[in-house]
Amino acid sequence: MSFLRTILAAGLTISASAAAAQTAGPNDGRLLASNCMQCHATNGQPRPGFSSLAGKSASEITGEMLEMARMTPGKEPEKDLMAVHARAYTRAEIDLIAKYLASK
């Protein structure tokens, strides 16, 4: 590949990802997931008393978050700390968080 074509190809990639950034917001998941780091450590590494969030797949994290957030009609809602926390997010936010953490 010539130098010029390299530049063009790279340029395309850059502008394509910049455009994606405008719509999907690559750092949206990073920002939302930073709201886990006070307890689960910067970048989700394991800490005494807190499960590692890093190294899990996105579907595992999403599944656990939805499980913790679940409110069953007629049943007392779970009241542990993670349940209160998990209930705050929309499904779309949980997916963004899970995707970001899975990439760590």
Binding site: F3, T6, I7, A10, A21, Q22, G25, N27, D28, R30, L31, L32, S34, N35, M37, Q38, C39, H40, A41, T42, R47, P48, G49, F50, K79, D80, L81, V84, H85, R87, A88, Y89, E93
Partner: protein, 454 residues
């Protein structure tokens, strides 16, 4: 290299922008100065560097604090009881420096907004493109008469310590407690909300009462609260006051504190003056007074933003919580205890405000809008006795303000609670005060400080 040189180097056919390995090299320089290396400011500096590396910008961060190291207020009530020490609660900026933050020790005296320069008391100056003010709180004694014959005004204030910034005052309050004779009276005063750490004074009451119960069991702790009732964890603390510490604590809500007077020759004969909840003037004797005064944003925020950039009462910075930028002065962001907010003034949530501010600055400097709906969380573990604790958590989201009377949108947005423990019910903390919670508290604190200081 500035923006012009960057364009010139591209024109010269440099391919470095293509490698993606040196994102900051050749990128536009953004100078961010952070004033205050506490819970909020330190986190902002750290995450600006962590995230700035991948932003395509050359983010240069200077963190200025008056002290060489930070002493955590969180868990400092356990210094009063001798369970821990200030040394064990001291954090250094070494990891931040390792991330490339320029750490400066110095007192910020003024901000020159027109020229975007921060000036230290010793004359050093630091120019900024964006300024983050994270100075925490200052105290307001203006409505109180604190006077001792034979002492200067400052000496008198130091003799009725607030211990609401961990440091020498914490040591002084501990010294006074240890010097108590069994049967002596301790008075502590709680200011009207908002103040730093809503459950903090009630936690303080439990800490002092626990120590008295074990060491000076005939002594009393009289809690004078300016608020109409216990404003945080009313069930947990109500139970602690009326059951666990029934023989020690007398709790009086709705009190207007007027002052404390004494003669320096007899420091243990202090007189506390107040108006009780019914408005009647009362005086009471006390050997030790832990006076937690009304609060306002740290002075550098008041001086820089006032009066137009402050809340109507002149105490707190008005910011748009999407980015924590001042509502009045572009380029100046304020985070942590110094802001006017529905979020509590607490270290855990100040840490998250800082990340949102850092992310918004990176987006704004890249010509993009801040993330539209940021989320924060507050988590508070509270020791009730040396071996038990409770906890409370809440999540806040940036959303439309609704007029509670009409249910209509007010057209503005701010951080609002979207999930939290039920408050005021029997199971405020599902398990109540427990040893498991006390254990979790230690782990939570360690994690929070690692996320903040590195």
């Amino acid at each position: 290299m500035d923006r012009r040189q960057f364009i010139a180097s591209l024109a010269a056919g440099s391919a470095m922008g293509l490698t993606g390995l040196m994102p900051a090299f050749g990128a536009a320089i953004v100078n961010v100065v952070v004033v205050g290396g506490g819970m909020a400011g330190t986190t902002a500096a750290k995450y600006l560097k962590l995230w700035g590396a991948a932003s395509g910008l050359d983010v240069r961060v200077t963190l200025i604090d008056a002290n060489a190291a930070y002493v955590s207020c969180i868990l400092s009530n356990k210094v009063l009881t001798g369970e821990t020490t200030l040394a064990a609660l001291t954090y250094r900026y070494t990891k931040l420096a390792g991330l490339g933050v320029t750490v400066v020790q110095g007192q910020v005296a003024a901000v020159d907004k027109a020229n975007r320069v921060v000036r230290l008391a010793d004359g050093r100056t630091y120019p900024y493109a964006r300024l983050i003010l994270a100075p925490g709180i200052d105290f307001d004694y203006s409505a109180l008469t604190i006077a001792a014959r034979g002492l200067t005004a400052d000496q008198a204030l130091a003799a009725v310590p607030h211990a609401w910034k961990a440091g020498p005052q914490t040591t002084e309050l501990r010294r006074q407690l240890v010097a108590l004779t069994n049967g002596n009276r301790v008075v502590m005063t709680i200011p009207a909300a908002p103040y730093r750490c809503p459950p903090g004074p009630y936690e303080r009451a439990c800490a002092i009462a626990g120590w008295l119960k074990a060491n000076r069991p005939k002594s009393k702790l009289i809690v004078l609260d300016a608020n109409a009732k216990i404003i945080a964890e009313p069930v947990n603390f109500g139970k602690a006051f009326s059951e666990t510490y029934r023989t020690i604590i007398e709790y009086y809500p709705g009190v207007t504190l007027k002052g404390v007077t004494w003669d320096s020759a007899t420091p243990k004969l202090k007189t506390v003056s107040l108006l009780d909840a019914g408005g009647a003037a009362v005086t009471m004797p006390a050997e030790v007074v832990n006076l937690i005064p009304p609060q306002k944003a740290g002075r550098v925020a008041i001086d820089t933003l006032g009066p137009t950039g402050l809340s109507a009462n002149g105490r707190w910075a008005l910011v748009d919580e999407i980015s924590y930028e001042s509502k009045v002065f572009p380029g100046i962001h304020v985070i942590g205890d110094a802001i006017n907010s529905k979020q509590p003034k607490a270290g855990h949530i100040g840490n998250q405000e800082a990340k949102i501010c850092a992310d918004a600055i990176l987006r704004l400097e890249s010509g993009r809008a801040p993330y539209a709906a940021p989320v924060t969380n507050s988590a508070c573990f509270t020791p009730i006795t040396p071996t038990t604790a409770t906890w409370l958590t809440a999540v806040y989201r940036y959303q439309t303000d609704i007029d509670p009377a009409t249910g209509q949108s007010l057209g503005t947005k701010s951080m609002q609670m979207v999930s939290g423990n039920p408050v005021g019910v029997a199971s405020e903390t599902p398990t109540g005060a427990s040893g498991d919670n006390a254990d979790a508290m230690k782990k939570w604190f360690a994690s929070l400080m690692v996320d903040t200081f590195g």
